[in-house]
Amino acid sequence: MRAFAPILLALSVPVFAQGSGPTPPMANQQLADPTQEAQAMRLMHSLRCIQCQGQSIADSDAAMAATMRAQVRQQIAAGEKPQAIRSWMIDRYGEWVSFEPDMKGAGLLLWVAPFFIFVASIWLARGLFRRRS
């Protein structure tokens, strides 16, 4: 049953894809359980509002963002794991919607780069001291 939850939820919100129409109530109201709400918030901050300019859905006034916030809260309330909701969003809207690229494919280099740069710069600086002392 849990596997179907996203589909059922999608069916229950037919205006979702248009990003217009009445705002679902959960868009602007917190979940009763603070732990769940914190989870939802963390996830919302990592999802991009695709209607606006570079804001996350957690801080946008756009109708689309409101609909997506409602989606996140509903699915969290239904017991979905944040990671599953994120994948669901990515399936629906593409990688573009995630502010945090996965550590695979196109995103892998991005996560490796900081370590590489750090090590490289320490190595460079070590040369500096060795040469001069």
Binding site: P22, T23, P25, N28, Q29, Q30, M41, H45, S46, R48, C52, Q53, G54, Q55, S56, A58, D59, S60, D61, G94, E95, W96, V97, S98, F99, E100, P101, G105, A106, G107, L110, W111, A113, P114, I117, F118, S121, I122, A125, L128, F129, R132, S133
Partner: protein, 643 residues
Amino acid sequence: MIAEAGLAALWLAAAMALLQFVGGLTLLRGGAGQLVPLIKPAAYVQGALCAFAFFALMWLFYVTDLSVLLVASNSHIDKPMIFKLAGTWGNHEGSMLLWVAVLSVSGAAIAFFEKRIDAKTLHATLAVQGFIALGFFAFLLFASNPFERLEPAPLEGAGLNPLLQDVGLAFHPPTLYMGYVGLSIAFSFAVGALLTNQAGPAFARAMRPWVLAAWIFLTIGIAAGSYWAYYELGWGGWWFWDPVENASLMPWLAATALLHSVSVLATRNALRAWTIMLALVAFAMSMAGTFLVRSGILTSVHAFAVDPERGAFILALMLIYTSIAFVIFALRIGAVKQGEPFQLVSREGGIVANNIFLSVILAIVLIGTLYPLAAEAMGDKISVGPPYFNKATVPVMLLLMVALLIGPMLRWRRDALMRIKYWLIGAAAILICGGLAAWKLAPDTRLFPLLGIALSLALAVAAWLPLRGRKLLRTPLPIFGMVIAHFGIAVSVFGMASESGFSKETLTALAPGESAEISGWKVKLDDVKPVVGDNWVAVEGEMVASKNGGTFMLRPQSRQFFKPEMQTSEAALLTRWNGQLYAVIAQPNQEGDGRWQVRLWWKPFVTFIWYGGILIALGGTISLFGRMFRRAKKPAINKWERA
């Protein structure tokens, strides 16, 4: 008439820049150099002409001359005067004119005041400046003429983006531009010194005030922009890792690194190549910043400033300047003499650590900002946002804080950690106690905020230690400047950690008469009323916030602007010593139950973020005045003068 005079002044100024450049070329080619005596006067005239052109444009905005295209498309007869004037630079053409004007006036100032470096290096520096200015004159005159006429003149004008109609924001872009221009001057000095092979302490002392001034402006600009985003966007965030925010952060990071290494070069005659490299990088970053903002190549909340064709022009300028500079660097750096040696555990070592950590952060921000572009070129459309930047940069920032606990306590050239062992033990004690206390207060806090709190507490003490054992009245002002700026870092990081770790949020819908709770505050919505402003209408919520017997009025607004049409929310902020209560009123509830959506946050110590920013800028300013004052008293001479 005024518009035409302004345009003519720009053309003449461009001719002066060309003269400066050609004069410099004859000097470097070792020719007869008849043009060389003209370089300084050309710089003065260029500065005066550009200042005139800028004030001419400001006059056109002052009288709202709608026959000028720029005024017609960015101003409106009904706009408040302050925003009419701010409209001068609140648009692409005007802001580029401001850039060129500041650049040219600074060039004139260098020509007039700079006496420390030898004449040849000074002339080379002014020539490089002329070369940079030429590119921007071409850009202004061919691709973004601010004085273009509009026939027939419209009756009222189109207006300025409502988000920009804000006193704080009216001064945010020019502040950043001052910073960018300051870095272009540092760049001119660096290239000038490379060309004449004078990359010694004298050059560093000549360059330092410009770096310092640029850095102060960037600090203020970034802090102001951050506070603006915080209260204007209405969701309580103060940093979004938006491409344009990153575009201003990158030059700041480079300038901060440069500021420290140039001090080493000025006082210890070490890190020569390193300093020149950082000066080139800092300018490249400020050009990249301008390019990212102006081109619209990355989607951002600053999308109002976008124009792809002009972006291409700026990109071309950036590539020309930086590639020429790096070629000169590669050709000349072999001739730059090795600086004075130092050991790992020394003040220089600490500053190298500062430089490395800042450069790593800079590289991460640069990669993260440009990565979506690269991925898109490969066919992947991905986003890189706050979760990535926070995870990747915060650990390095924390390392930087650790370096800051130790570095300023060390002696130049060589030192031993044993000498400062009592402080090291003390710092460790503060770190552990502070961390444990914060964890005890809020057990579910994440690691980064905890470490941030602990480190900022330790730094709040460490920052003052360089004053220990000094006679305060005889301590040079730059030392006070450093101490205050470092303390400002502690204050700011404390605010950031506290906000991100301990903020509370209440999102709800209230009908008049109902109330909500947040962190011990009771917020009652008394009434919702319509309000009319100069060029907007709004709904205003009247809220009463009460805690421990004290009651306060909050009046958040949801504003609808016309000319152009746009909706913005004006958050109501209640500032207490230990944080801010942040209230927003949004749309009426969809169910038609008479309730209004209300968002409330309690943000503990959030104001410290910007207080810290002010302290950092203040420290820089004290340091700058100290240097100028000291210079006026006695010309600084030390044993490396003839390096």
